[in-house]
């Protein structure tokens, strides 16, 4: 795959966490809680980690 094509794929991938955190109604709730932490908080926390992984993958594949 060309570099540009790969770059486009990564932009699509990046759009997923953006969509995840921008759609507030999706996660503005307490249940399911995790270790007593309401969903609202751990959901966003997990997306930070996922985004970092996508960024690292983009870097490693030289996009």
């Amino acid at each position: 795959m060309s570099r540009l094509k790969r770059a486009c794929w990564y932009v699509v991938l990046f759009a997923i966490p953006y969509g995840g955190v921008l759609w507030v109604a999706l996660y503005n709730r307490v249940e399911p809680a995790l270790f007593g932490i309401p969903f609202f908080y751990w959901f966003q926390f997990v997306w930070i980690i996922v985004t970092a992984i996508i960024t690292a993958a983009a870097y490693l594949s030289k996009v």
């Binding site: 966490p17 109604a25 007593g36 908080y41 997306w47 930070i48 985004t51 970092a52 960024t55 870097y59």
Partner: protein
């Protein structure tokens, strides 16, 4: 006076003072050159860039204000999470281009780039002035952060004696910035981060154990604060505020001069990309810092009569200092206070360097002394860095703190107006330089007007769309108007065949140093 805390604080402060001056000898070079003083010779690798950008963005004000917002208002304060989540992919995709073109042409500021790209001194000037205007109150806020922790150690006297600790901290900051330039905050940022990690890890492990676990802490938060208030009665309410604050702030962050300064001091294009994958480590810490706001609620510090005087004076900003005093032995609270104060020094130094780089390159060299040598540039930048800090100090000492906070709210609204010239300019020169100036003007007026309409209390503007009210961040609401006007006027200016100037750059400059 809290002596154990004060002694630890002074020791740690003395340590970073030494580090700040020793930094002048680190990777030794001629500091009488603006490239060395202001950008540390553009030689920072992955690790130093990581610390520098982290120190740059996660400031004392972050440690104080984010938990304060969570403490006072609840879930909305967590907008910092989606904000820092969205900023790194955005920078990853776009800003390596700014690094490449700047490295190729020796640009020191974003305005330098705009000058070269659009051949317009006026457009570069408005970008520079916007940067300086947005940065000044930000520096003042850092000093406010120091003020809060100094008060927390028991300095209660007013007048000159009360201001003395802040003035001493300021003199130290000014002196090492003057002598060491960007090297000083870069090296101090390493110390700062070690302290941040120690304090935060202690705080999120020790305090929750004292309070009976995370579940208990969240259970202590009133339900209406624990979640965002859902839309009701034709008002989208907090939902749109949350989303637009996060998105607008993520667009604005790397337009700030201090962030650009940090980026341009990196030694390679891939250093920036690598850092965008590594910097989210700070976002995790930020989540924990925000969480401290709830910990403070659960620990009941607001009802402790020992703290009532401070809460009365500093409001929710005292939540974290109170929590440190309440939960830790005095000496460790001193470590926490020193961390916050050092967390103020790093960004304050970088911000003053960035603002003086802008003044020197885009006002002094452009208009006052066109033939300035690099040594004259460095000399001017050093002096201006003092003036900038002195201005911030005077601001904090003379005016009530709320003005700095209000101006900082406006700062984000202002700096985002440079996005079309800088970010769109990295991809295309299609927008006309004069159209960009007028788009900027419209965005500045509209954005400021939106905040003024809220009496400068908030940057959330209740936009009315038909019967619907959509409250949102004024920065994000004014930006499309800026871009729309720029596009519209470009079409007109093109039709009139208005001269577009010469582009200094070519398309391959933007990919420079790509593997």
């Amino acid at each position: 006076m809290n002596w154990p805390a004060l002694i630890v604080f002074i020791l740690l402060f003395a340590l970073v003072t030494v580090v700040g001056f020793v930094a002048a000898r680190w990777r030794r070079a001629d500091l009488n050159h603006i490239n060395e003083w202001g950008l540390a010779g553009r030689r920072f690798g992955t690790v130093v860039t990581w610390f520098l950008l982290g120190g740059d963005m996660y400031t004392a004000y972050t440690f104080i204000a984010v938990p304060a917002l969570v403490f006072g208002a609840g879930a909305i304060g967590f907008f910092a999470l989606p904000y820092t989540l969205m900023v790194y992919p955005f920078v990853y995709v776009i800003f390596p281009r700014l690094w490449s073109v700047s490295h190729k042409h020796g640009y020191v500021t974003a305005s330098d780039f705009v000058r070269g790209r659009y051949d317009s001194g006026l457009l570069a000037l408005v970008v520079a002035i916007t940067g300086i205007l947005a940065t000044m109150p930000y520096i003042a806020l850092q000093l406010l952060g120091i003020q809060v922790v100094i008060a927390a150690m028991g300095f209660t006297s007013t007048g000159l004696v009360g201001d003395l600790p802040l003035i001493i901290a300021f003199v130290i900051l000014a002196a090492f910035t003057y002598t060491s330039g960007l090297r000083a905050p870069a090296l101090i940022a390493v110390v700062k981060d070690l302290l941040v990690y120690i304090v935060i890890i202690a705080a999120v492990i020790v305090i929750p154990i004292q309070l009976g676990g995370y579940g208990h802490i969240f259970a202590a938060i009133p339900r209406e604060k624990l979640l965002l208030k859902p839309p009701a009665g034709g008002n989208i309410g907090v939902y749109s505020a949350y989303v637009t604050l996060a998105l607008g702030s993520s667009f604005a962050l790397f337009l700030y001069p201090h962030a650009v300064n940090g980026l341009l001091s990196a030694s390679g294009r891939k250093i920036i990309k690598r850092n965008m994958a590594l910097l989210p480590a700070y976002s995790l810490v930020l989540a924990l810092i925000a969480f401290l706001g709830y910990v403070a609620v659960a620990s009941g510090v607001q009802h402790d009569p020992a703290f009532s005087g401070w809460f009365k004076q500093y409001g929710a900003d005292f939540a974290v200092p109170a929590l440190l005093l309440h939960s830790f032995p005095a000496w460790f609270a001193g470590v926490g206070f020193a961390t916050i104060a050092i967390g103020a020094l790093v960004p304050a130094a970088i911000m003053s360097i960035a603002a003086s780089n802008l003044f020197t390159r885009n006002i002094y060299k452009e208009y006052l002394k066109p033939g300035a040598t690099p040594a004259q540039e460095a000399g001017t930048a050093k002096l201006v860095s003092l003036v900038v800090k002195l201005g911030a100090l005077a601001f904090v000492l003379v005016l009530p703190g709320k003005y700095a906070i209000q101006l900082q709210l406006l700062g984000g609204v202002w700096i985002i107006q440079t996005l079309p010239a800088v970010v769109i300019g990295l991809y295309t020169r299609w927008l006309h330089r004069w159209a960009l100036v007028l788009g900027w003007l419209a965005g500045m007026l509209l954005g400021t007007g939106m905040v003024a309409a809220q009496h400068f209390k908030t940057s959330i503007y209740p936009l009315h769309v038909g019967d619907l009210t959509v409250p949102g961040y004024a920065a994000l609401y004014s930006l499309p108007v800026n871009i729309g006007i720029a596009i519209f006027l470009t079409l007109i200016l093109r039709a009139l065949k208005s001269p577009e100037g010469l582009d200094q750059t070519i398309s391959t400059d933007y990919e420079y140093d790509t593997e």
